[in-house]
Symmetry: C2
Amino acid sequence: MSSFRDDGAAALEWVASYLERVREYPVLSTVEPGRIRAALPPAAPEAPEPFAALLRDLDEVLMPGITHWQSPRYFAYFATTGGEPGILAELLIAGLNQVGILWRASPALQELEEVTLDWLRQLLGLPDPLHGHIEDTASSGLVTALAAARAARPERRVVVCSEHTHSSTTKAARLLELELRTVPADGTHAMRPDLVDLSNACALVATVGTTSSAAVDPVSLLADMTAAEGVWLHVDAAYAGAAAVCPELRHHFAGWERADSIGVNPHKWLFTPMDCSAFFSRRPDDLRRAFSLVPEYLRVSEDVVSLSEYASPLGRRFRALKLWATLRCYGREGLQAILREHVRLAALFESWVRAEPGWTVCAPRHFSLVCFRRDGGDEENEALLRRVNDSGEVFLSHTRLDGHYVLRLAIGNARTAEEDVRLAWDVLRREAAAL
Amino acid sequence: MSSFRDDGAAALEWVASYLERVREYPVLSTVEPGRIRAALPPAAPEAPEPFAALLRDLDEVLMPGITHWQSPRYFAYFATTGGEPGILAELLIAGLNQVGILWRASPALQELEEVTLDWLRQLLGLPDPLHGHIEDTASSGLVTALAAARAARPERRVVVCSEHTHSSTTKAARLLELELRTVPADGTHAMRPDLVDLSNACALVATVGTTSSAAVDPVSLLADMTAAEGVWLHVDAAYAGAAAVCPELRHHFAGWERADSIGVNPHKWLFTPMDCSAFFSRRPDDLRRAFSLVPEYLRVSEDVVSLSEYASPLGRRFRALKLWATLRCYGREGLQAILREHVRLAALFESWVRAEPGWTVCAPRHFSLVCFRRDGGDEENEALLRRVNDSGEVFLSHTRLDGHYVLRLAIGNARTAEEDVRLAWDVLRREAAAL
């Protein structure tokens, strides 16, 4: 154990020092495809190597290929945070190496998962009872939701979603051989309920905070419709769901308490390291109908339903421990303070764009994502984004809205301060002027 | 960062000290269902709590609910090891918090995953080229394999497997609405090729090292049959695959080099912390046909296929880093030494059972799993297992073979020594005598 303690101290110092100087790195990796691969040995070593060699190669070989999701100047896709409590919890998780194939294989894993998901349910203002479990990603959660919906109404083979629903719904529908019926969006990029057709539908996927523009589908209206038709309503709030921790933002979620299932990703905007995707359901029996299966070698005498009976994977990591660490070490007040600051910074950035001639805000801003563009052609905006990201100072991404190439600034890193957002705006204007 | 350094040092010391005294804990948790839940607060705290409070509650509240997978006296299901290199790698993984949604989001993540999977391919003696990626579990890998098989032959809706194939195949077939055709096994619990009917089959799942008894299906014969019929052959070697690192054990795998896909879990018998399931395929284009889907907001200029195009989840953790750490810090020789010792210990235990009147070995032993029982009724064996596990000294599990309740002793923890296996045998005989 002496080498474990020494190696561990070196690994810990590596992480502490990385987090201190993360602002110094170019945010988006600039390596060419294949360069990292070429710099690595073609085969595993014959003899054991010291852990120190790994830390050295992490610095020398891998770091140029790292895109710095931990940087406060990361504004692409949805910005995230591997918060300190969750980072250290991952060390504990690996040290304990629990494999939650069934309750007795780790009662603590299962019951902590149930309890922390219930804590999260309360933080989000969702009603009791709601069954909660953790998936790796929202994509897997979509498979779980649609599989349960299909099991509940096996004769209905259509999934209804909006043109802005995340691609994971398309992917899940393809896996489950369900037909996708796409509903056009309105001017705010939200699903138009007047165009929803639920015939033959087993499920409708509504989104609070779409990936393109963080648009909000009219969940309450949609819930009326799905309830009347007995159609499974899944609410994908993978990114925006965290905002419900703040009561003043809950109006965006009106109606989600009536959903059959809900996905919220603490690894997106709730400061939990990748991966941790919360899945809530009012209908756990339908999840079990789709997934439960207990072979002889897993049969036990306890009268407990194992969490593996609610989704595809049999084995599960002790992810609950990092969610527990995150919720406790930030506390409700700490989470709210960061979420509110992110929303304030996004509103500030939005106000700068609105006030500047030659720039346009392209979508309503509900949370911490701003969609905007420079007046002019798509090529100009695409070139602008390339120059901005090539500078290494900040990293933004794009989408397409109403036929236009649109830039996205997503705030979600717990270390992002006003100066970082200000820098993004300065770099954008500087590169636009230089174009 | 000062509190991160202090908290981190405390977490590291917690893990080091846990691993030193892991033999002292009762291996199987003895808590009643609901006890951990009842000991936890009903809601998340309002104000932030120190990380030290978490470590305290880990000891006082959670530890009674931990089943000690890290114990050298854990012999249930398949014994595993969260090895030290992988534990520390998890700290780095969380610190970097890479989210591999596409290549540019982390070139290092994608290329290290490709390289370490190729290292593993070579260690296993598998041919080049073979596309590799990491899944969370073998269950997810089964979904990937069967979805690709279905996409390749959409008109064929049958999956063929043996009566001893792992339940994840049944689960995946149900998810994909494929019909399962179960082939009877022979006296060694291996699939009988003379009873295989491939009509309308899109896939056949063969197993090297079944979960019940580590039986080996006749992969070479089955590969001849599937190749002739154009049926996808998936080889599930989740547990036993690691043994192929030792050339003298490779004869068990003859033919797997012709499989369309193969699953091997480094988190099972290759000393990598949960979760890390390797998936190899000769037909990556069929995986992409089933799963590839690139929406506008993920479109980039690089001509690179992202790993998310080969399976369900979009986001992925930097799992490759822990596999890299494990393969480097053990080295080929280090891995072989532990695997060989495990096989030697299993053979030794088997010889003790064979030599002892009143006990019977119930299946051929190919790897590190011994299936055995006390002569007598199922109730007696079931009661014996309960007494053994209640002692807390060791933990074994059971299965059912040829209609009998059978005990399983699985060796797979890197810290397991001969004295631990001897203890298991002593406890078994002591409790059998006391029955």
